[in-house]
Assembly symmetry: C3
Homo-oligomer: 469 residues x 3
């Protein structure tokens, strides 16, 4: 049986190129992890309680995993996913684990497989492949370790060599966990990020109630456009006081707008009091991106735009299990016309940083690289979600590099809810980048000294600079 | 002069990776051919008459070939393609062959070239390249062999090691050839597939007459929506009695609909009695995909959707030569919104299999892999038509594998009208898959034991399972 | 320190494949440059004056360079780009050069870097990398050489081994430089090309004045549709007398139209007298593509269509600096429906050549290769603008080759305003093509003898044939 993870994994096959990749990687592999965008739960770091069991750590919270199992006919109930109606689901973590293990072959060729093998090998010293045969061996080993102090969240945080990690919170979140972390005296650096979708997207569940709560929380009069904007400014300042350096915006499209003040006021009044049409909701989200850019110019928060996911495509699953159940599907996403209103207003500001993400890879070479290779305010985020993968990263570099260069990109985001996958994900990005750079050295597009500098920049320096961390 | 086909053809260049590819390929190259989707003529197997001459076998029926020759200014008449007006065309097969041979360089780098060289070498023991110089040598060799019993269709079928092949027929087809094959006692397994476009697509030539014939054939009252649906159920059962395990749907778009019963009835009345607008025709096709899915849940036929070709783009050619003359051109194809009505109704059925194809490769990573990686009813068909090619297959795997995995795909379809190309096409798919898997072994994403299992699955097991063959 | 350009640059890493690439390249590297499409200034060849300084030669006129520098916050004024309001900008070429040099790392991985290093090494014998440290060494060396006769435009033209170069002129251009070249007795072959956008695009600045000037220049009555078309025919003939073999059309989309005569007349009257809607302007451009195709059938000019750039995306930059300031951004471009009116009329003419370009790479495999692989009148231009790059060329071949073959393509265009980059650009294309062909040899898709013939065809023969040069 081979070990789960090979020292040369993900490096190019050609021996000369592989040798270069090895050298580049050796010099950056131990750099600390800077994780500027993700969705880990700050309570883990605040409460520092042990993860309860292998399935709760690896299977139940990971939509990459249960999505694939579901596509092959396995009921979510059998994986222990809680139903909204409270009907019983599998509650034996070992049964869930065995079910997962016996389908582990489904993940061949997927990034999930790489991340899991990395965690199994490096955290739990497992060196046989997961399968129905080894399911119990795995379960016992992991369960045993999780009960020890070395596997508590803060210990793992330190073991992972995380210099700083950002979580993502709603403006309505009191940031209690962040406050608890601060008070605890623990030195791990956990910052928040401002994700205003619940009070910016009229289609968000409970939007109108959220606006009321937003007013109460900030003491601003959110029944008026001016008060609503003021509430954002106050809340952004509050988030900044808990380390936030960025805001994050998950919109169905990249549409932006720059309405006259009176029109914006009228639109706000409409979305606040309802009913609101799909076009009005879209226009309001569009206007808010421009407002957020304006605020960023004032308070310095870096702006991240994540467009193009059709959320909750599967209504049955949504009804039974709720959001984020693996049924968010990308759609074609246009940027050139969509971003123009915002860019007409703020695109030439060198003091503003807007980081663009996409789930539509056709935009890389056609729209995103030309835009980022021109506008001072734009940078390209790393390959996102389905494209946080070996092939996804290769396509991103091949299609964006020649027009946007490397210096209009911002390093890696792990974007994860799955804590143990963090080192694996960063390691994949480092390996793929080193392999790609090695290719440029081998075909003599750049020198190895430049590649080494780039490897460091992509892993560390550009992330900290772009996110002001 | 080198031989036409090299034992290492299509394998990766890197020596270590090539060595793995060779091993993987050696273990699966002799597996029987399972051909679940194609367009060979069942009369060949029923009548078992010799192919008349080299041009009639290779050139005249192959739109890949005459399309390319036409694009370089060669008249279809000079290739012996029959005109609808009966005007004279080239009737000397040797003259056609020489014309083809003298332009053989046009096919450099195309899949057609690979398929032809494979057939020339393996079936006719030719080992010099086709050119104007060797045209007659080729012609004589092929003509001589075609006159022998070993080159009759059934002998070739057996030589090709075909375990089962599906043809494609209209619901109006009496399946006489399939009946003749059955009665003949020949053991070759030839099954039909249900391709209802002539009675489902209001834009099909003769659609209304077809509906009348459909009623006559089935004894159902196709003047009513209920009778029309009943006719489908009866005819599907008839097709099943001739081995059909699948239906096939060639639509301009992937649109589906799920109309209320009254609306569907009214729409059917409209398309039946005309006139019908483009939007109504589209809506009717869309509704019929959902109806077919419903029937599939009952009778178990696997459903194939082939959207996105604009048929008969060239009106002059269509007027002079009719359908399928190489002027079908792909268009951008959206799936996420288009399939939603059908998926809302049946997407969560693990007992249903819908196989999706595309001529718009941008959908692989953005739409198709995320959909197939979630919905239990969905699987991804192999690269289709223009993308049944070395580079097309590589792109498919690179772009679909990481999100849909391998197990939401269904192996290879040859989709061909060109009988002698069948072994070549399957061989290309096997080689490209082995090369791709070897790459995953060499960069340590999977073990060689897993790659070997996958090579077998992709070549044989997944096809049989997905198509229930 | 390594030399700036390595003899094996851009060749595949695999040693066997690289060896084939070397052999293929050795046989074609010294072929003369045929440059059928570009934007060099004919005054250079007419007046043969020295380039004034390094910055004026390399930085100020090159939108690839200042676009990237601008994206990283460097003001265009600091690069010596002239403002429309005449406000002062940096006037010290050495200061501009130093600014450029200190940001040279931004170009890592971009084609600009390759082109520049090639020019620095081959023209100026520089062998250390450009950086802030070497800025003055570079500046002095280049400035010194530019003052010598060997660096005059005509001497460089000959040194570059240019067999023929096309420039691009408006119909309103008197072609005085071309006349001066002819009269000078210099034997360098510089031809013009007919770029009628200023009198074809109602959105062009000064369009209506241009129509008046067009009438004056040709003696045709451009107040009528007939006279306007007549003016084009006359002016095309005039351009042909200065060597033109092609026309060039830069439109926002690929839309074509084939209006009835009365409708075309009425539309012309509208665009001539205004006001004109966006849809009418689009329809007029669309109609003019079909008119130009009709004229090409008569006078033999090859037609080039360059669609899909949204010009002047950045209104602030446009207001301050004018056109072509790096803010032209590609947009999604549809061809299959757009070209149908023109193709319905002229697509089957083997005597017509229309060369299609794209800034939307998704069209390669989905639309352009299927169209060019069918219609006798269509050919595919090389990767354009942002895709005139190593990875862009690879994608073009991988995505177009299998359906369109090589012989529906037309070799390379340098499309440049940057004179010293011409040999570098052609060299990149030759290397990438040889590397790609070597890959086909190594995986046994074609023989090395065929690859050698193709390398010659792609470099030289197909260009001359397609452009009738």
């Amino acid at each position: 049986m081979t070990a789960l993870i090979h020292p040369d994994r993900l490096f190019p096959a050609d021996p000369d190129t592989r040798a270069v990749a090895r050298r580049l990687y050796a010099a950056i592999k131990d750099l600390p992890i800077v994780s500027p965008h993700g969705h880990t739960d700050p309570r883990w770091y605040a409460e520092n309680r042990p993860f309860s069991d292998p399935s709760s750590m690896f299977v139940v919270p990971d939509h990459y995993i249960f999505r694939m199992l579901y596509s092959q006919g396995i009921a979510l109930e059998d994986l222990g996913i809680r139903r909204k109606d409270g009907a019983p689901v599998e509650s034996d973590p070992r049964a869930i684990w065995r079910r997962f293990a016996s389908h582990y072959h489904l993940f061949r060729g997927t990034p999930t497989r790489s991340w899991l093998d990395h965690a199994f090998a490096t955290l739990f010293d497992l060196d046989v492949r997961l399968s129905s045969t080894t399911a119990d061996l795995y379960y016992d080993r992991i369960a045993e370790r999780l009960a020890t102090p070395a596997y508590l969240p803060r210990a793992l945080f330190e073991r992972f060599n995380i210099e700083v990690i950002a979580t993502t919170e709603s403006p309505l979140d009191p940031l209690a966990s962040h406050e608890a972390i601060r008070k605890s005296g623990w030195t791990g650096r956990v910052v928040t990020a401002y994700r205003p979708d619940p009070v910016v997207d009229p289609d968000f569940e409970g939007f109108r109630d959220n606006l009321v709560a937003f007013g109460t929380l900030t003491g601003s009069d959110t029944t008026t456009w001016e008060g609503y904007l003021d509430a954002h400014m106050k809340r952004r300042a509050f988030f900044k006081s808990y380390g936030a350096t960025s805001s994050d915006h998950g919109h169905p499209t990249a549409a932006t707008a720059d309405l006259a003040r009176g029109d914006a006021e009228a639109l706000y009044e409409k979305v606040r009091s309802g009913p609101v049409s799909a076009a009005e909701a879209e226009l309001f989200r569009a206007q808010m991106l421009t407002e957020m850019a304006r605020m960023s110019l004032e308070d310095g928060l870096v702006m991240q735009i994540h467009p193009g996911s059709m959320r909750n495509h599967n209504p049955h699953l949504f009804a039974q299990f709720g959001r984020d159940m693996g049924a968010d599907i990308p759609t074609g996403t246009e940027y050139v016309r969509a971003l123009k209103p915002l860019l007409d207003r703020f695109g030439n500001e060198p003091g503003l940083t807007i980081i663009l993400f996409t789930l539509d890879e056709t935009a890389y070479s056609r729209e995103l690289a030309p835009l980022a290779g021109h506008y001072p305010a734009l940078r390209l985020g790393p390959p996102w979600w389905f494209f946080d993968s070996v092939e996804g990263m290769k396509r991103f570099r091949e299609q964006a590099m020649e027009t946007a260069g490397f210096y209009n990109t911002v390093g890696f985001n792990d974007d994860t809810r799955a804590f143990p996958s963090i080192p694996a994900r960063h390691d994949v990005a480092r390996r793929v980048d080193c392999g790609m750079l090695a290719g440029l050295v081998t075909d003599h597009r750049i020198g190895e000294d430049e590649a080494a500098e780039l490897a460091h920049d992509l892993t560390y320096r550009l992330v900290k600079q772009a996110y002001k961390l």
